[in-house]
């Protein structure tokens, strides 16, 4: 196709992630802007996982995700806690969103 140059209207917004800030704080500006859209996606993802693995396994996974988060290497656990705080979504849900690739290659 002769699509180039792309339409500027579709350019994605740019944010800084300051690795010198504490992991708990570094995602705050982004989540302040994008938190509500993340909430909208998460509910659908939960429904999807439930439909794929069934209610029982879904519950086992969700019950273990906060524990899984604590075993993640530094600084990922701390970052997920920060995102959870600023988005007001549970840590288990934020963990699920971040490990979705691993869990659902099928």
């Amino acid at each position: 196709s002769g699509a180039y140059p792309p339409d500027k209207h579709f350019e994605v917004p740019v944010y800084d992630v300051d690795l010198d800030l504490s992991p708990l704080q570094r995602w705050a500006p982004l989540m302040a802007d994008k938190g509500p859209q993340l909430v909208a996606l998460i509910d659908d993802v939960k429904d999807l996982i439930k439909s794929v693995v069934g209610e029982t396994i879904f519950k086992i996974i969700m019950n273990n995700l906060s524990k899984v988060a604590t075993t993640l290497p530094y600084p990922f656990y701390e970052e997920l806690v920060g995102i959870s705080t600023f988005s007001e979504l549970p840590l288990s849900t934020i963990t699920m969103y971040n490990i979705f690739y691993e869990a659902f290659t099928l």
């Binding site: 938190g35 990922f76 290659t105």
Partner: protein, 252 residues
């Protein structure tokens, strides 16, 4: 997903990718879109990762996600990740992580973040991406800053298959690499063959036209561009520039 690395006649490397989601969450009949792709578009952001006041690397990501799927580290390497399907892949890895305490494997997207933060060369990144035990299978597409530095790493949890720029193994040309979501030693399924049209577009344009605009045009050609495509990213290693656009695929 579709990832492309191309090298122009002077040895300059370009890297682009489409990120496609699955078809899950269903089809929106009214808008003719896949629901999850539409929900991810407003979450798509470019991140400039800063350390000591300078940009360490740039990535294209989703808000709330701390891993790295698409990124460039200036003058070092470019990177993209394509999903690799496997029945016994990531879910088993997740169960092992929950049930056992040794945690000897790496989460794919956390490993890639670590590679972007720490690796200081194409070779170092390649070694790390090939050798680390993973939770799930995946395709890593890596481009370097020097002529000939480009590769596709097909990973299962323990092993790696490597195809480098110049190899004919993928069916790609000697000056470019194309990777979608299927192993290069197998034919893609008839219902999702993005590899053949991408290779055809690249081949017909020729190395003389290798550029970011060529890659964008190829990534904008149906079915390489499709209803599952969330964003297109273009990366240039020498400048460290990364550009991203969310995509809309017109109906056939």
């Amino acid at each position: 997903c579709t990832s492309i690395i191309a090298q122009d006649p002077s040895g300059y490397l370009y890297h682009g990718r489409n990120l496609d989601t699955g078809v899950f969450l269903g089809w929106d009949k009214k808008n003719h879109t896949w629901k999850v792709a539409e929900k991810l578009k407003p979450l798509t952001v470019q991140l400039n990762w800063k350390k000591n006041g300078t940009t360490l690397f740039r990535s294209l990501s989703f808000a709330g996600y701390v891993g790295v799927l698409t990124a460039v580290k200036e003058d070092k390497f470019t990177f993209s990740l394509d999903k690799r399907f496997a029945l016994n892949g990531g879910f088993m890895g997740l169960l092992e992580w929950i049930l056992f305490d040794d945690h000897e494997q790496s989460w794919v997207s956390f490993l890639t973040r670590e590679v972007l933060e720490v690796a200081s060369s194409y070779k170092e990144a390649q070694t790390k991406l090939m050798k680390t035990r993973l939770m799930a299978p995946v395709y890593f597409i890596l481009g370097g800053a020097q002529p000939g530095e480009g590769c596709i790493i097909t990973r299962d949890r323990d092993n790696a298959d490597l195809v480098t720029l110049g190899s004919e193994k993928t069916g790609s040309g000697s000056w470019f690499l194309v990777q979608t979501n299927y192993d290069h030693w197998k034919n893609p399924p008839f219902f999702d063959d993005r590899r053949t049209p991408a290779i055809q577009c690249m081949t017909e344009n020729g190395q003389i036209n290798a550029s970011l605009s060529l890659i964008y045009n190829v990534l904008s050609t149906k079915p390489v561009l499709n209803k599952e495509t969330v964003y297109t990213a273009l990366m240039e290693v020498r400048s460290g520039e990364l550009q991203g656009w969310t995509r809309q695929c017109p109906d056939p």
